[in-house]
């Protein structure tokens, strides 16, 4: 399913956090949200995932208003991987993945075996099957993130919202996770910090600053030395890696422009 944000504005109290954001994510594409800390990436993801009602504008999932949908219907179509997930409860990894079936289950505990196939499949895709019986709180940061990804996949969503999904992951797992997500063929919107990874795995990049869209387009058009200087205030060289043909950003002398 495609997801489209039109002129979306949202804020806390008097302060607008994101303003007039328009973002079109066609079905099956991966969109990367870039921007410095506090630029509104998480807020935009939460508004697009239906968690916060925008003050202005509309978010449409395949043409249907996300904020007018019953919450359960919405949760069967859009899954969110949060930046920081924490719990005090002694949940096993399997319990956590099982939470992803909540939007698909009825109110009464009749269908308890429901979702066994989806849960098994989600755990395999996220490579966490071997962690099933571990207490979630004893897992490493990377393992937690992958278990949460399995939970999101167990929701069987059409759209996956990822808030800095590669936080806490080592390089191999960063590549693994983004490659896995890409291969699923879902519509993905991901807030990312690593520009090289964003260039490698996204079809479309959207750069935010101060709650507004600075620029948007394919990585090769968006990721320029000027953009890195303007948005992140870091002097950098954007080049193309010879063997892989991928864009890479190398920073140097960041204080020169401060």
């Amino acid at each position: 399913m495609s997801i489209l944000a039109k002129d979306v504005t949202w804020g806390v109290g008097e302060r607008a956090i994101i303003q007039d954001i328009t973002l079109d994510c066609p079905e099956g594409t991966v969109t990367g949200l870039l921007g410095p800390n506090g630029s509104g990436k998480t807020s935009l993801l939460h508004v697009m995932a239906g968690l916060r009602r925008p003050r202005g504008g509309v978010v449409e999932l395949a043409g249907a208003d996300v904020h007018r949908m019953p919450a359960r219907d919405r949760a069967r179509r859009i899954a969110l991987l949060e930046q920081h997930a924490s719990t005090t409860l002694p949940l096993t990894a399997r319990h956590v993945v099982d939470l992803g079936r909540i939007p698909h289950r009825g109110r009464w505990p009749a269908g308890r075996g429901e979702g066994a196939v989806e849960i098994t499949e989600a755990m395999r895709l996220a490579a966490v099957t071997h962690l099933a019986d571990r207490d979630w709180r004893t897992l490493s940061g990377g393992e937690r993130q992958r278990v949460q990804l399995a939970r999101a996949l167990a929701q069987r969503p059409s759209v996956l919202m990822l808030d800095e999904p590669t936080n806490h992951l080592d390089l191999a797992h960063q590549i693994d996770l983004l490659a896995t997500v890409r291969e699923l063929g879902l519509t993905v919107v991901a807030a990312l910090h690593d520009l090289d990874l964003a260039a490698a795995f996204c079809d479309l990049l959207v750069v935010l600053r101060g709650g507004r869209v600075v620029t948007a387009g394919p990585p090769a058009e968006v990721l320029t030395e000027r953009l890195v200087r303007d948005v992140y205030r870091v002097e950098a060289t954007v080049g193309k890696h010879e063997r892989s043909g991928r864009l890479h950003v190398v920073w140097h002398d960041e204080r020169a422009v401060r």
Binding site: S86, T92, D135
Partner: protein, 353 residues
């Protein structure tokens, strides 16, 4: 080939087995506890009396046995079971909704408000709707609990009509302190020795006044609450990782939080009106059940209800039979026996990890 993973089941059938054991324990406890007292009634005779009352063939039931078992002790045991079950599920729900291990059924000012109501009746002789005696006390406690609940909700509600857990807990503390101040002041200024004792006894709880009418009400309230809350078991599970996570799983977080917080507070207010503020059960039983059966609510809620019922049956039996001619406040019993048990389970869990 893939091995199919059981959803959320580390030990298939563990919850079911625990449930079966606790149900057997509950039925056994009712029969044995009813037999205990100044006149001992053997379990066989208790079962005969119950069979007779249920219209089943029963032999040799004496009038005196029927009176002791059915009229005097059974309502009190049934009331204890219902109260224990209700307090345990209220505690489990509030701990999950606020993500706070210290949450108990009295979180929203219910016990403080109920005590204000009770003190007003005991010390100041305030009358409620023309009622007298125990009925006035219960009505006063219930009204007090509702007023305190309303104040806590007014203080805690945000601009958007939300009910943030941290502010709700703090509002409960603030109103609780205010109620405690009123209670101390009234008892100090107007209370004589006897009324001070009665207030203290009330705050520790007692099931001495429970008859069939009140036991039936307690049972209906507790069972109704249990069924209603189990319908929200999955929504409560969804709160494990906080509000945003619950919302992304399709839970209408504000509606669910309001419904369950007010629902459990009303449940608690009903229980408190008949039994006083019995501590410890609602705080500890859900923790113990979580250690044994895990944190998922479709198991936690019914198992907490059963465990709370068993615990309070025995606490009340001890309360009425430990001392000759005098009742021990049931809150003292629950704490004295519950705290060491809880400490033992905590130690065991910390070692197994």
């Amino acid at each position: 080939m893939l091995q199919t993973v059981h959803p959320a089941r580390t030990r298939p059938g563990a919850g079911f087995a625990t449930g079966a054991v606790l149900t057997a324990l509950l039925l056994g406890s009712v029969v044995v506890a009813v037999g205990i007292g100044s006149v001992h009634v053997p379990a066989g005779d208790v079962i005969d009396v119950v069979r007779g009352r249920l219209g089943l063939p029963a032999e040799g039931v004496t009038v005196i046995d029927d009176r002791i078992v059915w009229q005097l002790r059974m309502p009190r045991v049934v009331g204890a079971a219902a109260t224990g079950a209700g307090l345990a599920i209220a505690g489990a729900v509030l701990q999950s909704l606020t993500r706070n291990d210290l949450a108990d059924p009295y979180l929203l000012g219910v016990s403080g408000g109920a005590t204000v109501g009770a003190v007003s009746v005991i010390v100041l002789g305030v009358s409620v709707a023309g009622l007298v005696g125990g009925a006035a006390l219960g009505a006063g406690a219930f009204v007090g609990a509702l007023v305190a609940l309303a104040l806590v909700l007014m203080l805690a509600t945000g601009r958007a009509g939300d009910l943030p857990p941290a502010r709700t807990v703090l509002a409960g503390v603030a109103i609780g302190q205010l109620c405690a101040a009123y209670t101390s002041f009234v008892v100090m200024i107007s209370g004589d020795h006897d009324s001070a004792r009665r207030v203290l006894a009330w705050t520790m709880g007692s099931l001495a006044g429970v008859r069939w009418q009140s036991a039936t009400i307690l049972l209906v309230v507790a069972l109704g609450a249990l069924v209603g809350i189990i319908a929200y078991a999955a929504d409560l599970d969804a709160f494990a990782f906080g509000d945003a996570s619950a919302s992304s799983l399709g839970v209408s977080i504000q509606r669910v939080r309001w419904l369950l917080m007010v629902g459990t507070a009303l449940l608690t207010a009903c229980l408190v009106a008949y039994t006083g503020a019995i501590g410890f059960v609602g705080l500890v039983v859900p923790h113990v059940v979580r250690l044994v059966a895990g944190p998922l609510h479709r198991r936690l809620l019914p198992l907490s209800a059963l465990a709370g019922a068993v615990l309070l049956i025995w606490a009340d039996t001890a309360a009425r039979s430990l001392l000759d001619g005098q009742e021990v406040p049931i809150g003292v019993v629950t704490a004295v026996f519950g705290a060491p048990l809880f400490a033992f389970l905590l130690r065991r869990e910390s070692r197994s990890r």
